[in-house]
Symmetry: C2
Subunit: 259 residues, 2 copies
Amino acid sequence: MKSLSTPAEVRSLARSGELSDPTPGLAAGYVQANLVVLPKSLAFDFLLFCQRNPKPCPVLDVTDVGNPEPRLVAPGADLRTDLPRYRVFQQGELIEETTDIRQFWRDDLVAFLIGCSFTFEAAMVKAGLPVRHLEEGNNVPMYRTTIPCVSAGCFAGPLVVSMRPLSPEQAIRAVQLTTPYTKAHGAPVHLGDPAAIGINQLDTPDFGDAVTLRNGEIPVFWACGVTPQAAIGQSRAELAITHAPGHMFITDLKEDAIL
Amino acid sequence: MKSLSTPAEVRSLARSGELSDPTPGLAAGYVQANLVVLPKSLAFDFLLFCQRNPKPCPVLDVTDVGNPEPRLVAPGADLRTDLPRYRVFQQGELIEETTDIRQFWRDDLVAFLIGCSFTFEAAMVKAGLPVRHLEEGNNVPMYRTTIPCVSAGCFAGPLVVSMRPLSPEQAIRAVQLTTPYTKAHGAPVHLGDPAAIGINQLDTPDFGDAVTLRNGEIPVFWACGVTPQAAIGQSRAELAITHAPGHMFITDLKEDAIL
């Protein structure tokens, strides 16, 4: 694959179908985003769900009704084609995973772009912190927890988290480093014992790939933008479209622009 | 008037009609809030306006449709009676200023509580910074600027700011001190020359009272929660109810809880 150093390159390859892989490490230094598409009739409840759960759901941009262009964060891009992989839900059930959602698009749809922890991984690497799934060429491991979100209208569900193994000293540095990235989930929500937040098996993540936890390392957990997908399942929304976990939209924003 | 040291005391006196004055300095150390009430049909556009303009419109709480209780920030309070003074708008025109909005309440109304800069004034006083309108027993001066907000649906309009005079050294300290209060407008948006943001006369504020600018002081401007009132005027919203400028709702949140 060509070097994918700019957001426009990544989006263009996703659009042409050449890229259908997860996006960690691509266009390093640019803000990556989770996608949630819903009918206008559910848009207020969902925006309120985001407002009430800002750690997992920091809103970066909301499109005008029926318009798939994210005008504020990537003018000219098309959210129907420019992500590597999507999930389509009807009545809360996953009905299809696809690389193009033009056939599902409607005039009453609103798209929400939500910050993603991949955004601060370039800063972690620069600070000398390990990012294990990048080292191992994998998608980040993600887990459903037993921590409930604050509900809003029809949206309710558990917090979903991503996990990165770090030594205790590295975990302290990672807390400091990620705290200012409030639009990319910010500081971790938990570290250490996975069972304390309802995760029983670290080696079988609910989404993404398992990674190696080395001797002396503890798992460090960040709120994750897959959280809305859990809420969509419970909501039984007539139609909802999201990115496939780890297959993000890459915006034109530099990571420093959201600090 | 009795000492008004707790949020419940202030709200109770507003409810009984004994308090209809501005709220700076009341229940010091607690989070104060701007109020915007709109029909559900406009709620998504307005929440999006807030999301796109987080400096003037940091959302603290949004009530369930038809329910005047702000469950998250002041359980048991009633937003129809617990503010000292309200403004009622029809088709964007101010039709009434009143101390009780029960007669205007409807089952389809949604109330938004938005952070207020009165929240950090206790911290300014504690740090030895002057808060001139408190010293002079007045409401804070507020001004329309020529800085446009980012529009959302029917909501668009200019940024409204509040002003506090400070020496340059105090202004620097105030920037540091208020930066973490992102849910109460955070750092100033401007300091020095008022004309640079379209303010021609400091001594005739658009809302609130004029205050003394002493020799060697510069005006320091913070984004203000009256901004939505300007947008409501332009939106021609069928019905909108707000607090009267300076007459805020006092929540049960301690100011440190929003840091």
